[in-house]
Symmetry: C2
Subunit: 345 residues, 2 copies
């Protein structure tokens, strides 16, 4: 399996590190090579058909600010025409306005029959249908566990483990930063602005916190769940969205008196698509503290199933991408095996 | 996919009901028939190569106490020699002494190259290695999500979704009855015996509660996790086991003063295999209330991932069995598709 990594910021470098650590054991389990044959950042690239050492590329990026020769204004798609690869790991930054450059990158790969594994929410939240159609047409596979819930395997669990279930709805906490702020307001009696500043100082929130606290991040993820799990055809703009900017300390304290907490909850079903602050009873799974993500799936046969994990972070996101890469490898391997053309594992 | 159901008590009837409800949508998704061609209880059987109506068989069982003609002393294995089927759903009662009749049934199927899906803990906790070897030798598949955690997909999540992770350990609450008793002791200040009686009255505990409260059920499940997820070669007897019989109300109250609860925790890793009552801080995921099952997986890249759901119940167990059946169907379908001999879905 020859992989190219497109986007080499925190997540891309995490994927490189994860692959360095894990490729040997994965290769020996599946008796197939797993190589990174190309790395692209926004301005430069590095290619080697025999496989790069991803840690070496990361070291170069840290030292020189680029991964290799300049693209010199050429578009990635042009360069890619000469590259032999099987899977594109697309981890350029999420752009919730027009989904670029992720959308173009993914379409180039999928149209050429190459599998795509991504953490990039923009294309999935804005143009999911087009991506799916391109994949279907060429027979390529599109996987995106890392786009929602970080290391929490909510998408693959819903799509691949609960296949006999009708999933009636999903309610979840998809943004650790908001959860951290709401917790600090309650636990320390801090007003919103102060809790936000603390989150910024601790590195949980960006300088411009809009993306988190206005529910943009959560809404993008809700749209992805609606498309991927409920087979709806929605975009980010279809999500009814209220952030936590309007949550006052008084409201948090009033909730506490009633043994409740306020949480920014996403709710997705066949008929609902909403992100908003809600009251949750203390002791309820969704009253979870810290910066974890949690998803509660309501199903027809199994009842409620809850899954929780770290919603963000370099290695956590890389872990979800790795799980998708291994899933592709396993599918290929099972297919070869059942047809007698490969080794058993 | 032609299925036989072996064992037609609560779980077997749940599987029949789940298949009646779900087969149409599954068939249309995978463009493959899903039929029950045989049902066996301990004394009788019903066969039809064209497919039975599982609800009809369940109604007959309720009315007549049997599903069809008497076996008349013939062993299941003899009857099976004339039956054409693809998958055995083995749901005879768990026998933690010698694993029969489940073990013999499963071996007959696996040795003949038939896939097995089961909820039966005995064979998996006592003779896992032999089952795996039989499956490996014939190329048959053995799936058993329903054996641990009821509807909670802990096994398939660990084995199929977190494939890039090294799972360092699993800690979990695997028995809802014990959790109910421990909760009632704390919440209502009931002594153990009284809480147990209440659990019996509410139908959570059997008349002979040994299996639950002495940790036998939990230990069997811990052995299965060790075999299936940590690739160990253990049996039920290798589990260090302490039940909750010795948990006094005083201990529960003392724990409460320190903001802790007592839980019957299973811990499984490469080096540990233990079921015992432990102190858990209030607010910790494992401090979960009610009769839910919960599993906390510690992993190297993703950190902790927690999954919780209903640990027992007719439809919950049937749901896990159904998910395994659909997984087999999906694998077959993917294999056909990648080789151009089937329809796309």
């Amino acid at each position: 399996m020859d992989i190219i990594i497109v986007g080499f910021g925190t997540v891309g470098q995490g994927v490189a590190e994860a692959l360095s650590r894990k490729a040997p054991s994965i290769q020996s389990a599946f008796k197939e090579k797993m190589r990174v044959v190309g790395v692209f950042d926004s301005k430069s690239y590095d290619l080697s058909p025999k496989g790069l050492d991803p840690r070496e590329v990361a070291a170069r990026k840290a030292k020189l600010g680029k991964v290799g020769p300049d693209l010199e204004g050429r578009r990635l798609i042009e360069v890619l025409q000469d590259v032999k690869y099987d899977v594109m790991v697309e981890v350029t930054p999420t752009n919730i306005k027009d989904a670029e450059p992720g959308f173009g990158n993914m379409m180039a790969a999928l149209s050429a029959g190459k599998d795509v594994v991504t953490a990039n929410k923009g294309p999935l939240a804005l143009r999911f249908r087009q991506l799916s159609k391109a994949a279907e047409k060429s027979g390529a596979r599109l996987r995106f566990e890392a786009s929602v819930g970080g290391a929490t395997p909510v998408i693959n669990m819903s799509r691949e483990l609960l296949m006999g279930e009708r999933i009636l709805s999903i309610r979840g906490i998809e943004n650790g930063t908001c959860n951290f702020i709401l917790n600090r307001m309650r636990d320390e009696g801090l007003p919103f602005d102060q809790a936000l500043r603390e989150a910024q100082e601790m590195g949980y929130a960006e300088r411009d916190p809009t993306y988190d606290i206005d529910g943009i991040d959560s809404a993008a993820k809700a749209a992805i769940l609606a498309n991927a799990i409920f087979r709806r055809d929605v975009t980010f703009d279809d999500v009814r969205r209220t952030g936590i900017r309007g949550v006052s300390l008084e409201a948090v304290e009033l909730a506490a008196e009633e043994k409740k907490v306020i949480r920014l909850i996403a709710e997705v079903s066949e008929s609902r698509l909403e992100v908003s602050p809600r009251l949750v009873p203390t002791g309820h799974p969704l009253a979870i503290g810290g910066t974890l993500n949690i998803f509660q799936l309501m199903t027809d046969l199994a009842g409620d199933i809850t899954v929780a994990g770290r919603g963000a972070g370099k290695m956590e996101t890389a872990s979800a991408i790795l799980s998708d890469l291994v899933a592709l490898m396993k599918e290929d391997c099972a297919s070869r095996r059942r047809n007698g053309s490969g080794n058993r594992i």
